[in-house]
Amino acid sequence: MNALLERYPDEVKAILARYPQEQKRSAVMPLLYLAQRERGVITVKDMAEIGELTGMEITEVGSIVGFYTLYHDSGPRFRVQVCTDLPCALRGADEFLKRLCENIGVRVGEPTADGSLVIEEVTCLAGCHHAPMFQVQGDGEITYHEDQTVESATETIAELRRRAAGGQHE
């Protein structure tokens, strides 16, 4: 039983249809996003199912998950990813991250106590001219938040945590 196919029959078919018929393996990345959509993580079972759909060994699917940083095999629902790469850092991103973490009361890379969210450092997101900036990954989306202050970021995070507490997935 392929649960992924059962849950998203149309999406799976549409994804497979994008690539040449004999190149099913190309669909592995979009399928991984699909598997990650609801829970923010990709389980070993998901990998096996995607392997089935793309004709790959489960280990090969796992390798893809491991290589790319936007796929996760564990972790909280939301990831607040602050760019601290050179151009942003030149405009105060390191200080911004430090103060934001103090404000929220977490350390970088460690999920909040309610397990809803983690603040992470990431490399350049192509938002250098709007530093400090971060992206939020969760619920199958990625949204950019630019020209941020610690206050605005704190508010965004509070909103995410409210969403997580309410349990509602979009």
Partner: protein
């Protein structure tokens, strides 16, 4: 098509190499060693470790005239590229000038080694690879004396990661060369290990169930250029330099892989010398440098403490230990004046079979081969001709595999057939159910079980079929210059395989005698073909034969263990003598049990399915006090009957054999021990190039001559009525690599991989029978009831259920 030769210069040497050759290999052939880590001559180059950097110069070409620019002295002007290039990815080209020994190159080698070592734990003193480690050797040869990397900065990673129960990974030692993952993907098409993460965090993982689920996994430990991958049985077992080596041949399938047994005295075994590991030995005509895991790990049964050590004789109903003399005399006495049946298995060596055959003949007995597959007599006439080599087969050759699952039955043939297909051979797979080989075949054809021979008969000259798949396959087959047929016993017994072999022989009759043409039988054992060569024949009437025998002489077979019917028949037979390693069901029923040596303890020769006769040698282990080689026992029985049988040495038995049997004419132990130069060069001086597989110095064997063609006329082909009683479920046996045979059961390492005692069915058939997945059913087979688990597989045909043959 003649290959174009290219002229180049390496380190001042003028070298000629076929177009397309990589510089690394051209240099190697010329005796110039360029260090490598990721490159392996059996795999596509990837150029990732950057160890093989060289300086490359190319002739300067005048753009306007397209002619080479010349120096003042008339030699071509050479422009050296500013950047070093990788010798492992660069094809030779005319006029190329390569330098491997300049300061720039030496610096690069030193620098790459230093970089590699920054992440390496340098734990050579406790590493299994120490002593045969490419990294160690190349560090000594090319590396810096000292690293500038701070030891405290070293990354610490897990050191004993089981990638399954056979292979362990030391993450710290891995140098990310990807040889292992590439082998699994490219060579054996089992990408069950892979990289996880990236950059310096790259690590090898497996998610398969069971872990590292590949029957070729052991080979990765041979080509791993560091001690990252080790086998469960050798890790922490010994240092390579403490080992003694002996050449051997695997007896567990008809391929006849060349092995090297490494032995050492062992404290854990109270100072006894034991086999520490089985390694592949290079034979490019047989197994190249690979072996399957069964061949590598199964030998542990030879050390099992249940081995028989003393002759046993039944006294007052009990098997009682006696002296050899008493036992042999009793046997000799009892064999006289009765109808004798000698029943042998395909594990015996040629020499054993020869002496047993002589004995049987002298006593006017019947020489019976135990097994359910026929056709070896035809293979003697239409088998692969001398000079054949599957490794050289490609375009222009059609390979037809019928009624066999090569991956399970003869793993190295699967590998070589698959590679032949990739080189351009036309691969046709004809079977009643899907097998692993389908994936590599251009033509996959199906038949209904029972009509195998009819299906194969379509390949007789002049046949035409409308079905497009068939017609395409027949056409491709007819176009081929060379034709090789592998036939097996998938779902078949003696009758079915006999018919199949006959048809195959007729299909091949126009091709016989030319190299790379002929019939190969996928036998269950390593020397089944040898038994045919030496006169043993299977019989469909085995139970009756046994029952009516005054004496039964069994060697290397366990009929009573396999079948209740045969067990009963044996009980009814007169005197029963059994030569065995273990107290099998058959031995338990015997009047005399004679303990034999295992193939690891003695010498002899085997005849592979390709009819290559190859010698095996005793490992340097002190012989167990009691057991004797089968041929010696047979000879000693014979001697007591006044027969001139040879017991002194296997080589002398072979001499007699060569005199008696036309196919063996001209062969001798000396000739079997001949070696010719092989490519890739595997000599253990340059472990970094080919890995730790052993060089072949003890013999590559000789292929038997074909016997004169005298084919029986084609039988009238009708679908065999092997469907069972009306309404009853039809159950067909299939062959599995890790079968449930006695020897495998006694090899603890492979226990976890044993073929399940299960009944496989198509869901539709299961539903019709009222069976569900996982259910346990009692099945009556060969007079015995066994309990099997129901497994569903929608790829199977609906007509029958399947189970591993050895469960039967």
């Amino acid at each position: 098509m003649p290959v174009k030769m290219v002229n180049l210069t390496i380190d001042g040497q003028q070298i000629q190499a076929p177009e397309g050759t990589l510089v690394i290999n051209a240099a190697m052939r010329a005796g110039i060693h360029i260090p490598v880590f990721c490159y392996h001559p059996k795999m596509e180059p990837v150029g990732m470790c950057r160890m093989c950097l060289i300086e490359v110069g190319r002739p300067v070409i005048d753009r306007t005239t397209n002619a080479p620019v010349l120096e003042a002295d008339g030699t071509p002007k050479i422009a050296f590229a500013p950047k070093l290039e990788t010798a492992c990815t660069l094809p030779v080209a005319d006029g190329l000038v390569v330098r491997t020994e300049t300061q720039k190159v030496k610096d690069a080698h030193r620098e790459v080694v230093e970089l590699l070592l920054t992440s390496h734990p340098l734990d050579c003193p406790i590493c299994d690879k120490g002593g045969e480690c490419p990294l160690q050797n190349l560090t000594m040869g090319y590396g810096p004396g000292q690293s500038r990397f701070l030891i405290d900065d070293k990354m610490h990673l897990e050191k004993h990661v089981p990638l399954g129960e056979l292979i362990f990974l030391d993450r710290e030692r891995c140098i990310q060369c990807a040889r292992c993952t590439r082998f699994q993907r490219e060579v054996v098409d089992d990408p069950v290990i892979g990289f996880y993460q990236r950059g310096r965090s790259l690590e090898i993982v497996t998610l398969s169930e069971p872990g590292f689920d590949s029957i070729f996994s052991g080979n990765t430990t041979d080509i791993c250029p560091v001690g990252a991958l080790t086998t469960a049985d050798f890790r922490f077992g010994a240092r390579p330099w403490e080992l003694n080596h002996a050449a051997s041949i695997c007896t567990h399938c008809p391929v006849g892989c060349n092995l090297t047994m490494d032995v050492r005295r062992e404290a854990r075994s109270s100072g006894r010398t034991v086999i520490k590991r089985i390694m592949p030995r290079q034979n490019e005509a047989v197994n190249e440098i690979w072996i399957c895991d069964k061949g590598r790990f199964v030998h542990h049964y030879t050390e099992n403490e249940q081995r028989l050590l003393q002759p046993l004789v039944r006294k007052d109903g009990e098997l009682t230990a006696v002296s050899w003399d008493e036992a042999l005399s009793l046997v000799a006495e009892k064999l006289q004046g009765v109808t004798l049946t000698t029943l042998v298995g395909g594990r015996l060596a040629n020499e054993d079979l020869f002496n047993l055959a002589q004995l049987t003949q002298a006593l006017a007995g019947q020489a019976v081969l135990y097994g359910e597959m026929a056709g070896g007599d035809l293979v003697q006439q239409v088998g692969l001709a001398p000079g054949s080599n599957l490794g050289e087969v490609g375009k222009g050759t059609a390979i037809l595999v019928v009624a066999s699952d090569l991956h399970e039955e003869a793993p190295l043939w699967w590998l070589r057939v698959r590679q032949a297909a990739r080189r351009g051979a036309t691969l046709i797979v004809l079977n009643g159910r899907p097998t692993r080989l389908d994936k590599d075949a251009q033509h996959v054809l199906r038949y209904a079980y029972g009509s195998e021979a009819q299906a194969l008969a379509n390949f007789l000259p002049g046949q035409a079929l409308e079905d497009p798949a068939w017609s395409a396959a027949l056409h491709a087959f007819a176009q081929a210059e060379n034709v090789i047929i592998f036939y097996g016993s998938d779902g078949l017994g003696l009758e079915g395989t006999a018919a199949l072999a006959q048809v195959a022989a007729h299909v091949l009759s126009g091709y016989v005698g030319r190299p790379n043409n002929g019939l190969v039988a996928v036998w269950p054992h390593g020397n089944t073909q040898g038994a045919w060569e030496l006169g043993f024949r299977p019989t469909a009437e085995l139970a009756n034969t046994l029952r009516s025998s005054g004496a039964v002489y069994v060697a290397a077979a366990d009929p009573a263990g396999d079948s209740a019917i045969l067990a009963e028949a044996l009980d009814e037979a007169g005197f029963v003598v059994v030569q065995e390693l273990f107290l099998t069901e058959t031995a338990r029923r015997a009047d005399v049990v004679l303990p034999v040596q295992a193939y690891t303890e003695r010498e002899g020769s085997f005849t592979s399915g390709e009819r290559r006769v190859q010698r095996f040698y005793p490992a340097n282990i002190p012989a167990l006090p009691g057991p004797r080689p089968d041929f010696v026992i047979a000879a000693q029985v014979g001697q007591r009957l006044g027969l001139a049988l040879e017991a002194r040495a296997a080589s002398l038995v072979f001499q007699q054999m060569a005199q008696r049997h036309a196919a063996f004419a001209g062969l001798s132990y000396q000739r079997l021990a001949e070696v010719t130069e092989q490519w890739p060069k595997i000599d253990r001086r340059d472990l970094y190039y080919g890995g730790t597989s052993y060089q072949n110095t003890q013999g590559m064997g000789q292929t038997l001559a074909l016997l004169p063609l005298a084919l029986p006329p084609l039988p009238r082909l009708v679908a065999a009525a092997n469907a069972s009683k009306e309404g009853a479920l039809r159950i067909l046996p299939i062959n599995r690599l890790y079968d449930r045979g006695a020897l495998l059961r006694l090899s603890p390492l492979l226990a976890g991989r044993m073929a399940a005692a299960a009944l496989w069915l198509h869901p539709t058939l299961a539903a019709a029978q009222g069976l569900v997945e996982g259910q346990r059913v009692a099945v009556e087979l060969n007079g015995r009831t066994c309990e099997l688990e129901v497994r569903l597989d929608e790829n199977l045909p609906v007509e029958a259920a399947f189970l591993p043959r050895s469960v039967v």
